[in-house]
């Protein structure tokens, strides 16, 4: 594998672990957190902030999510999924814009 693909390959491994690796939250829950879409209300405030305004996350966001019955391990997984998901969308958007600018027709996305 050429050196330039090693970074994207390593990133792909991270995405796969977070979405489908062994965990306490279901793959469906993790996929929703990753996409920041279709997350149920008690968790939406936390996941939405992780994706779009992480510096605004508060203790109360975690308390509300825990009160909905999620365990700490499930919250760990869902917060990680939300962070990796948002960063992945940025990575994909950047690679797609670069492919367009250089006229490169190879599939350029990180995922």
């Amino acid at each position: 594998m050429p050196a330039e693909d090693k970074k994207r390959a390593a990133h792909q491994v991270l995405v796969e672990r977070v979405l489908t690796g062994a965990g306490k939250a279901s793959p469906e829950q993790r996929a929703r957190a990753f996409r920041n879409a279709g997350v149920p209300p008690p968790l939406q405030a936390l996941i939405g902030k992780v994706a779009t305004s992480p510096a605004q996350v508060t203790d109360a966001d975690f308390a509300a999510a825990k009160a909905s019955g999620l365990s700490e391990d499930q919250l760990f997984e869902l917060v990680v999924a939300a962070a990796v998901g948002q960063a992945t969308r940025m990575y994909d958007a950047g690679l797609a814009a670069l492919a367009e600018a250089t006229g490169d027709e190879r599939p350029g996305n990180a995922t």
């Binding site: 970074k7 994207r8 992480p54 940025m90 814009a97 250089t102």
Partner: protein
């Protein structure tokens, strides 16, 4: 940290490792280092590998340039822990703290090469808005940056948009300036493995 499992939920062997590091370094392990030891098969092992590849793998960008990108992206995200850590690391790598401070204060007037400046501008837009267009990339290319360098910069951006979010969501404890400098020396010696 906001989840108790990230403070005290580690396996006995890992806790022993933390205690040993604390004993030899005289400093507590930073939360950024602890996080990757929590259930490493879920996140930590793959995250370390990707981050090390982005920050220390082959690239036409220097380690100092990539640490500056990490600090810059973290600054856009207002991620205080990551700004502190990577400002210190970039400053040591360049042997020029003033340059790093100038970039974070005002990219447009900072004394950095044109190509690096254009790359940071694009990473800032991507981080702030979540998207960039082909026109943004043409601006970076016309500043003399190669497509491969742009890909490498996007990997740094992805790594620190992940880490910074986790630092803020989980509530990493800020370190003293001395401890950030010590962490920076470690990152320059060992990387992110």
């Amino acid at each position: 940290m906001r989840l108790e499992i990230l403070n005290s939920g580690y396996r006995p062997g890992t806790r022993l490792l933390f205690a040993t590091i604390r004993m030899f370094s005289g400093r507590p392990l930073p939360d950024a280092a602890k996080l990757v030891f929590y259930r490493p098969g879920f996140y930590g092992a793959a995250a370390k590998k990707f981050t090390h590849e982005a920050m220390r793998g082959p690239s036409a960008w220097s380690v100092a340039d990539r640490e500056l990108m990490a600090a810059f992206v973290s600054n856009v995200n207002e991620s205080a822990f990551c700004v502190g850590a990577h400002t210190a690391t970039a400053g040591q790598a360049y042997r020029d703290r003033a340059k790093v401070q100038a970039v974070l204060a005002d990219l447009e007037s900072a004394p950095v090469e044109h190509g690096l400046q254009a790359t940071l501008r694009m990473l800032g837009k991507l981080t702030r808005e979540g998207k960039v267009g082909a026109e943004d990339m043409r601006d970076v290319l016309s500043a003399g940056v190669s497509p491969q360098q742009i890909e490498d910069a996007l990997a740094v951006c992805a790594a620190f948009n992940t880490t910074g979010r986790l630092a803020d969501a989980f509530g990493f404890q800020l370190l003293s300036p001395e401890d950030f400098e010590a962490g920076a020396r470690y990152l320059l010696k060992r990387g992110y493995k």
